[in-house]
Symmetry: D2
């Protein structure tokens, strides 16, 4: 058993927390094409106030929103509309992670893109 | 039994929906004093895309946020931090409603302020 | 202008609050066919602790959940999966309201079913 | 730069996702002392439907809930009321993680308890 917890471990743990948090906080938020960009910025900023978050970029899929605007001209944010790229730094380790809609799986997939280590 | 549903009834029903929605959508959102104003605007806009909402003003209590900023410099949005004033119009009826923290009850109180009717 | 707020007004306002709240609190919750019934009960109970709620019945659409179970065997609760019937009593007034998926509008519709008044 | 992503990395990433998700999904849920236990079970089950989750135990702090029950006899779930222990298994790696209220920091702290590796 390895009990020693490294910077790399913490970076990945914190990266997961950020993605899980933003997904479940904001899914359901009413939006339309006019408010979409402001909502992207707000999600970015709201996650950026949390520790260890170095960079984040949120993109909400315009085409999916457009398709879902019904008679009332708005829809609720769905997980599959979200594309996220984030970088988390903990000590000497940096984790790049993301969330994207996987069409084949029909699933909003959270994934690790890259882990790097400062010497 | 009265089965006839009036514009006034609808205005109040819709007003309640908006307050319940915004409260449970956004409570928990991470924020600090820098992101507070953007979050206020985003909540306003997100509720404004829904039908029958004519006006809305969201204020997040700066003092409460300041007190809650801990070692990590942010906190989660709490219901008691929210002050809301909203006007809902349905047909000939307008409902003014609000949400404010009632200190005595220690409770985020949703209330009807006024109902008016166009002739 | 009518400023007098009646029991009927309050019943409808409270009814709207309950529907808006449950929708935005629980949309996004992970579920599968095994946990579906427990989630229905939990939503019912969580809204029942709030004032003025007399009855509530939540049904999550099994067919929609079944369709959405992907490779990972679960999905997130969507608004269109929800059917709700609720009765709110405020003083002498009772409001029966609901939420159902309107297929034609492709929209989770909140509606007033009936308002009655005790003499 | 290390680009190779290990089971251990995935286990920690997935562990973070689960904690972030449950926190932001359920904070705000209305509860009282009668519904508390059912809510604990529902949160456990809702997170257990997600991949890689092997064990989870949720405890909601009874004393904090009791203190917050106001005139209306219920309160909203707060992050500080939650204690979580979870085990995530990804391939050969197991991560034990938790969430507990840190009184000194006045902060709901998510932490890595232990990482182990099957040979």
């Amino acid at each position: 058993m390895e009990r020693d917890i490294t910077d790399r471990d913490h970076a990945l743990f914190e990266a997961g927390i950020k993605l899980g948090a933003l997904y479940h906080q904001f899914v359901g938020t009413p939006l339309n094409l006019e408010t979409l960009e402001g909502l992207e910025k707000t999600i970015e900023k709201s996650i950026s106030v949390q520790p260890y978050l170095e960079k984040i970029r949120i993109t909400i899929n315009r085409d999916m929103v457009r398709e879902k605007l019904g008679r009332f001209g708005y829809c609720g944010l769905e997980g599959k509309m979200l594309e996220v790229h984030a970088e988390i730094v903990f000590g000497s380790a940096k984790a790049k992670v993301g969330l994207r809609y996987d069409e084949e799986l029909d699933y909003p997939l959270m994934y690790i893109e890259e882990i790097s280590q400062r010497r």
